[in-house]
């Protein structure tokens, strides 16, 4: 285990290491969330298109 004020201090570089990892997880979860939202929107748009198509009796 590394010393220097314990694990959280990151040898004095905590100010730089932890934000990096926080942002990394942020980007990973943003991608997941955005992909799901994108798919949901696509489904809604498809439903609307189908509903319109249905009405025009095409």
């Amino acid at each position: 285990m590394n010393g220097g004020g314990g694990f959280w201090a990151m040898g004095g570089y905590a100010r730089f290491v932890w934000p990096c990892f926080a942002l990394a997880l942020g980007v990973l979860f943003w991608n997941l969330w955005s992909a799901r939202r994108h798919h949901a929107q696509a489904l809604r748009r498809a439903e609307r298109a189908l509903a319109m198509a249905g009405r025009e009796g095409r």
């Binding site: 040898g11 290491v17 942002l23 498809a46 189908l50």
Partner: protein, 244 residues
């Protein structure tokens, strides 16, 4: 043998298998990343020169390699779309762009956070970070060009062409930035190269690299489903997809 490849061009098939692959890819990726984080942050020994700051490579390096790989994949999908007029290929290219851009952004921020302890400033025009910055502009160009067209088909083709032109220029840009950097600063004090890492440091890095790659694949599958749906609104199979 070719039927497998040929079926990849059919939207309903891709829509289904993307749904099947995504959970597996994301699951394995999640495990690898968790392991990589724990091992990399807690157990890997400190770098004799950079101390604990070097741990940033465990997110910086996977993100930067993904950002370039994603752009290349986007260009390949774009080329397949343009040459064989396969709608799914355009959907892949459209799906990859935001993911690649997000990793490019991650690379830039982690790179500058890593630069601060090393060079004392958040941005020292390091050649690799500058190339990443220009790559972000290229991503942004492709995405805004696609969005500028009302007709999605034409937007896909225009963005595809720009992606191909962009990928041809990526190495040229990188070379000229490295050349430019070597002129003005001489060798930077500590090049942002990968520090020589021994086995115990390397294992978590490979885990993170593979983890990010699989994660990229999983998110691509999810986003691809939306893109395929957007381009197939008229098709009959969409009715079942919407109902289920």
């Amino acid at each position: 043998m070719w039927t497998w490849f040929y079926r990849l061009a059919s939207p309903p098939y891709v829509y289904r298998i993307a749904a099947a692959f995504a959970p597996w890819l994301l699951g394995v990726a999640g495990a690898l990343i968790v392991y990589g984080l724990i091992d990399g942050l807690a157990f890997a020994p400190r770098d004799y020169q950079q101390g604990d700051a070097f741990r940033i490579i465990y997110v910086h390096v996977p993100a930067s390699s993904l950002s370039v790989m994603a752009y290349t994949l986007m260009a390949v999908a774009a080329a397949i779309g343009l040459i064989w007029r396969i709608k799914v290929a355009y959907a892949v290219a459209a799906a990859v762009a935001p993911i690649g851009a997000s990793f490019t952004l991650l690379t830039l921020v982690t790179g500058s956070l890593w630069g601060k302890p090393m060079w004392g400033t958040y941005w020292a025009w390091d050649p690799r970070l500058t190339s990443e910055l220009i790559l972000l502009f290229l991503y942004f160009g492709v995405m805004s060009l696609r969005a500028a067209f009302e007709d999605p088909n034409r937007g896909d083709r225009a963005a595809a062409l720009l992606a191909i032109v962009g990928v041809v220029n990526v190495p040229i840009i990188h070379f000229s930035v490295v050349w430019w950097n070597s002129l003005h600063q001489g060798a930077t004090i500590l090049k942002l190269g990968k520090p020589q890492i021994d086995a115990s440091m390397a294992l978590p890095l490979y885990a993170m690299l593979l983890g990010f790659l699989l994660f990229f694949g999983g998110v691509l599958c999810l986003r691809l489903r939306g893109e395929v749906l957007n381009r197939e609104r008229q098709a009959s199979w969409v009715r079942e997809a919407v109902k289920s």
